[in-house]
Amino acid sequence: MALAEATEPTGSIEAVKARGHWAGAWARFRANRLAFISLIFCGLLVITAIAAPWIAPYHFTETDPTARLAPIGADGHWLGTDMLGRDLFSRMIYGLRTALFVAFGAELASLVVAIVIGLSAGYIGGRVDQGLMGITDVMYAFPSYLFAIVLVTVMGRSLWAVMLAIGISSWVTQARLVRAQVLSVKEREYIEAARSMGASGTTISFRYILPNAVGPLLVTTSFAIPAAIGAEAGLALLGLGVQPPTPSWGSMISEGTSYILAAPHLLLFPAGMFALTLLAFTWVGDGVRDAFDANGESR
């Protein structure tokens, strides 16, 4: 048929391989050296946190009465010990475990809730939407840190409580974002096209809208992880975090400042590791954002 020949695609497309949305984003992420190295580093941190009992030379409660406030390079404690004679290196690893457990748990929980609620509010609209916006209004009036503080007081200072408190105070923002994304994707012509093909509401929500809203959501989630790590440490700093003796970088930093002259390493190492972790996760977030921005999909 003459038509088929008539529309032989020109140059440009021959050179380009079929590449989907995700493959393109991943290729751009890989090309970003800082982000890629940070991702590897974050992966190592996660493995360390999971394998903490095998990696850490001591348990975090184990005290060494013979070596209190031992300096760096002390016998058997290469990063020294704290005022109770607990191994700093071990406590830092367990602190990492606490931070990542709380952060990932909180963000995962808030993400699931946010997706379900944001998606229904955005897609169904009407009352569901008004309900969400009502809750959002109130939550926006309640500074998130303060809400987390109150929640921790209510639920006690267990690991789960801290995780929940941080998750609950962050889901609203996420849900609002999902809703905004859904509303903007919903306006696209392809959703109308899908309706005209006879697609049902659930198909449209989960097969068409959600995958196209995931990019921006992934971006905020990757920034929310370091924020949650920061929140966990912040609560601990105020004495409202995970109940001691479970280590948290926040409480370690807080204790460190008390011994700042006598044993500066008690402050320097946890604070340094904390900063490095936050930066690595943020750089991953940066990379994710740039990878998705270049698609022009988020515009």
């Binding site: 009036a141 500074p143 109150v150 209510v154 105020l238 400042t257 700042i260 402050l267 900063a275 930066l279």
Partner: protein, 334 residues
């Protein structure tokens, strides 16, 4: 919608939100294990002070609510007082009314926060502009790197780093207390970094977007000097959206001072809030929560009003939706 009815609506919503905040806080506090007396007894016991805390609490509680008043009535009595700016005496500091504690603590928190935001704005706008105008240059990449540092580090961690530098290494600034200007330097510095980074990033991306607008090309095509076009056409329009992030930013800063206050031992309001939650000091907690919520919502209202003032499309009632749909339509036509 007229301005008056808009304001009326906003104020009704604010009042409803305040009621909701108070109910949530009160309910949560009732659900919390242990009351003020228990907490005091535990900590007092540890400190070998006998039952002093309990007496204080009984004293404060009785002076306000009498004995054996059920929780819901306590709430109503509290709210009745709150409506007239009378939160009653704190449990922990029974000789002081909560509104007096707020009046004493808030100016400290507000001073730090406002100075920090002002400094951030002054630094962030030129930095963001500079990065946008030199997009993809090494200068831009360098700026963005520093900005990432700023967004990644929480203010208390910056505070710790400052303490390490200025107190530990050089010994030129005090690490805690609140009595003179030298005590303000490090808390403010610690608070400045984050907002500066956030604002600079927004200014940069907003500026980049505006520079791509055709009206900027049109102004250049009229023979405008680049600097004039940037300040008159691009800067103004790219700063309008910045106003919207200022609200949440101020909010997070006002409450975010709590960590800096804890770190530097500053008697600000944030610290009182944290203590109140830990010790189940109902009037203090409720009072500070309501006060923070009020500040936050007022801030957002002001931001919205300023935004409307700056953008004539919003100033003309209902203008914004029409403009957007027209713009979308014209894009489709193109």
């Amino acid at each position: 919608m007229s301005f008056a009815s808009y304001m009326a609506k906003r104020i009704v919503r604010m009042v409803l939100s305040l009621v909701a905040v108070s109910m949530i806080t009160f309910t949560l506090l009732q659900m919390a294990p242990g009351n003020f007396a228990d907490i005091q007894r535990i900590s007092a016991g540890a400190a070998q002070f006998g039952g002093a805390g309990t007496e204080d609490m009984v004293h404060a509680f009785a002076s306000r609510y009498g004995d054996d008043i059920p929780a819901w009535r306590q709430y109503l009595i509290f709210m009745k007082g709150a409506a007239t700016w009378d939160f009653g005496p704190s449990y922990k500091y029974p000789t002081r009314d909560v509104q007096d504690i707020i009046a004493q603590g808030f100016p400290i928190s507000a001073t730090i926060a406002l100075i920090a935001v002002a400094i951030s704005l002054v630094i962030a706008i030129p930095i963001g502009m500079f990065a946008a105008l030199r997009q993809n240059s090494p200068a831009d990449h360098g700026t963005m790197f520093v900005i990432t540092l700023g967004t990644a580090l929480p203010n208390y961690l910056t505070g710790v780093i400052l303490v390490v530098i200025f107190t530990l290494t050089f010994g030129i600034l005090p690490s805690s207390g609140w009595s003179g200007p030298e005590h303000m330097v490090m808390p403010i510095l610690a608070l400045v970094l984050g907002p500066t980074a956030v604002l600079a990033r927004y200014v940069r991306s907003s500026m980049l977007e505006t520079l791509r607008e055709e009206y900027v090309v049109a102004a250049l095509a009229k023979g405008g000097r680049q600097s004039v076009v940037i300040t008159r056409h691009a800067l103004r329009n790219s700063l309008i959206p910045i106003v919207t992030v200022l609200g949440p930013l101020l909010a997070s800063l006002m409450t975010g001072t709590v960590f800096v206050e804890a770190l530097f031992r500053i008697p600000g309001l944030g610290l009182f809030f944290a203590q109140a939650a830990a010790s189940r000091d109902m009037p203090l907690l409720m009072g500070t929560a309501l006060f923070f919520a009020l500040i936050l919502m007022t801030m957002n209202l002001i931001v919205d009003l300023v935004y409307g003032y700056l953008d004539p499309r919003i100033r003309a009632a209902g203008g914004v939706s029409r403009w957007r749909s027209q713009k979308r339509l014209s894009r489709q036509a193109a």
